[in-house]
Symmetry: C2
Subunit: 491 residues, 2 copies
């Protein structure tokens, strides 16, 4: 059947969709979400169908923005349209939903189709449901991870030893990466670190690093930076390391589903993509962190180690205290300041963050067999070698290597939250801290966020400052203030 | 936050969606598919969000067609937008996905939100997955059915005994309803039959009945028809008997999922909505029917009876032969002809369909305690009482009561499929028969379809006519021909 193309100025943000009039759909025996193949003069493409009785007239086919990017057609162009077979991966998703274990080739096919936008959101949702409900066997997780790696970009680095780290997250600040990378690189190790942006937090490492230099580079440019400085701190999202993963995350969001197999593969696929040989995983455990119980943490630890092994990586897992934010600043500029304070040995350096990164850097050095690791890490920090290395990285990533903490501004609108009575800090809600910072403008507004003045178990007096909220916008600050309730509890 | 409304000339066919610019979305801390409440001068509404960086400018909100229907706003109108709570039903869906049993109030809430378009397709998909994977307990199926009934339309009929029937389907033709209804009504019973249109078949009962009279009536008009004639044969879809069910079917389609609990509730909710007291369920079993094994059929039988009981209905279940089409014609007009041939005692009447409807009508009469049921059914048929009753129903539904089989035309383009060798008919593929008829134009084109000349185990000679395909369009006929392979096998 031939139909006339009609451009529709809308993007679905998801799978490719074509709109057909119900009469044409009937002629082709199509139901909503069935697939069609569209053939133009030079290209062909497979898309899912939505059926309408009004928007698109008989004899026309409506194509949305995403399709145009992949398939350049002209308004009014005559396109050949026919039924396309359902991808075989849909069968495999059904198989998994039926509780059967998937083979390597089947998982490969699913992930290939995810990356190539062959699956609709509904089909992806069924895949996530199946993985969540039935779980993945260790083998399936391995295949999934390998498929994600295969269908993403890989860095071409020839170093025999490449170290890496990951925190499963949930704690505000906890900006360990920006400190561990320069320390470890100053110790002579290679650490091509890719980080994420904030999803529900106030700032991801990529958002904070971006206050100092560029973080978006294609893979080939990242290789150059790493060859020059032994390290990098870039945004993984710009490199397409695991695009299958990004697509699955979208449909996981509405029910906040974290199927364990997908969480594991998501993390280690990105490590494998940069050729990591030694990986330290930090799992903070706390009531308002991502992992809430020790039992959960231990299961995750075992699975990380198993999956790492199957990918040929040495994985060390540490369970850490996730009961409160690590560091004082929350928000891009405020967190970058904390990092610089520590590297510059300033008295404003947050002690908890400093302690944690010394511990983690030491573990990484030990993993690759370096002796007197702790002493070495402290020397690197105290002699300014980490600071120098960090500025070398900033320069390589196009930033100003002479940046000072004060160069990083904070929002001019502020609000001080004080203790309503004297007592001892009993509870800090990580999620609410993040929420306040986000509502104040994080992560888009670099200058917004909050600065914590107290830590758990600390004694406070009535009217003592607990934290200050900063925002670039009066309206946002007002909005943020309304979220303050029960963030920090005193007994 | 206040945003300016912008109409977008697109319909998603599904849940209500608003498009926000990424900057505004960030300010409200929204992720794709989060919900917002939009408040205009007189109305407010809750919709899901999609986020864009181009289509919608900062300060604007794009609203799609479906939203306009529910929420009349003006282009450029200032609307108050704020984050809305996720409906509690999303939590309950998560609970079910976690393998826990749902309470009555929880299922009620889910179905209410389904009917009111509060849930996104992704959330609906999770609900279907959860039901498919974990299954429903008998109790949950009961609650689901009752919730679907409660959230749909009910007929107001006061008859003490109301009979009904349902075939689980999968067989071409099998047009039993159009014969059983007039027989049973002629016997003095009330049978307000609602039927479906074709989804994957060549024609549903509603499509076939529509060749003779109107089938779309609001519930109040259906009540009048039933009061007048003791019966009706109408399209259930026009009556909104179980709109929750229709919405769930859409997301079940891509993976062709039929979670048993949803199948059961879908059928019996519609029976309860017309106040049925005695229901006969026919489950055809065959390799290419919907139910493929006797074991499956027996489980389904037990569940139908159980659910019927909890709804206060007497349910009888018969397992029948589903190895081949019942009747000769396939397609709206051709099937209507078969029905008329039987009622008019014409020699062209298909014997298999005649035998089946005598059997089924007898069972229904027996269920309500009528004696000499089989004799009575045969008399009603042979004395022309069923024929007269059928024409009474046609008239009440606005059709021509004097219609003759020859008035129902068949497509002028035809193609005869002949035996390539002599032998015995060994296999007829129900699904392929349906597919050929659909590609020839069914169910939209009433005159298209095919006419079967042979039955299973029948001996045929080389070149003997197996079936004829009819179409109104030369192009469609050509297309249908290419689907003929392996439809009927001879050994």
């Amino acid at each position: 059947m031939f139909l006339k193309a009609k451009k529709i100025d809308i993007s679905t943000g998801g799978p490719l969709i074509a709109l057909l009039n119900e009469k044409d759909a009937a002629l082709l025996d199509l139901n909503p979400l069935d697939r069609i193949e569209i053939k133009g003069k030079k290209h062909k493409i497979i898309v899912a169908v939505d059926i309408t009785d009004k928007e698109i007239k008989n004899g026309h086919i409506g194509l949305l923005k995403e399709t145009l990017e992949k398939f350049p057609f002209k308004n009014g162009e005559k396109l050949k349209v026919k039924i396309a077979e359902t991808p075989r991966s849909v069968e495999f998703i059904k198989k998994k939903l039926d509780g059967k274990e998937l083979k390597k080739s089947e998982i490969d096919e699913i992930i290939k189709d995810v990356v190539e936008n062959e699956l609709t959101e509904i089909e992806l949702t069924y895949f996530v449901s199946a993985s969540y409900k039935g779980g993945f066997t260790d083998k399936e997780t391995e295949y999934l991870t390998k498929a994600i790696i295969k269908n993403g970009t890989k860095l071409r680095l020839k170093n025999k030893i490449i170290v890496d780290k990951h925190s499963t997250g949930g704690l505000p600040n906890n900006r360990t990466t920006m400190l561990i990378v320069p320390i470890v690189a100053a110790a002579g190790l290679t650490m091509p670190k890719t980080s994420s942006r904030a999803i529900t937090s106030a700032a991801g490492t990529a958002d904070v690093m971006e206050t100092l230099c560029d973080v978006c580079f294609p893979a080939r440019k990242v290789e150059e930076i790493v060859k020059k400085t032994n390290a990098c701190i870039v945004w993984g999202g710009a490199m397409n390391l695991a695009s299958a993963d990004d697509k699955l995350i979208k449909v996981r969001h509405p029910l906040r589903l974290d199927p364990e197999g997908m969480l594991l593969s998501s993390i280690l696929a990105k490590k494998a993509a940069v050729n990591s040989t030694h990986v330290l995983i930090d799992i903070p455990i706390g009531k308002t962190a991502k992992t809430t119980t020790l039992k959960e943490g231990k299961t995750l630890k075992r699975k990380f180690k198993f999956l790492g092994k199957s990918l040929g990586m040495k994985v060390k897992v540490m369970l850490s205290d996730g009961s409160q934010p690590i560091g004082n600043g929350v928000g891009p500029n405020l967190e970058a300041r904390d990092v610089l304070y520590i590297l510059m040995r300033d008295k404003k350096a947050p002690k908890d963050l400093e302690k944690k990164i010394i511990y983690m850097s030491t573990l990484i050095l030990k993993m690759v067999g370096i002796k007197f690791a702790k002493k070495k890490v402290k020397e690197i920090l105290n002699l300014g070698l980490a600071n120098a290395k960090f500025r070398e990285i900033i320069k390589a990533q196009g930033g100003n290597p002479k940046v000072k903490p004060e160069d990083l501004k904070v929002g001019k609108y502020k609000y001080k939250v004080k203790a309503t009575r004297s007592g001892k800090i009993h509870f800090i809600d990580n999620k609410k801290i993040a929420k306040i910072a986000r509502v104040a403008g994080c992560p888009e507004s670099k200058e917004s966020g909050l600065y914590l003045e107290v830590k758990l178990r600390q004694k406070v007096k009535r009217n003592q400052l607990l934290f200050t909220i900063y925002s670039e916008s009066k309206e946002k600050l007002k909005y943020a203030k309304s979220f303050v309730k029960n963030t920090i509890k005193i007994i």
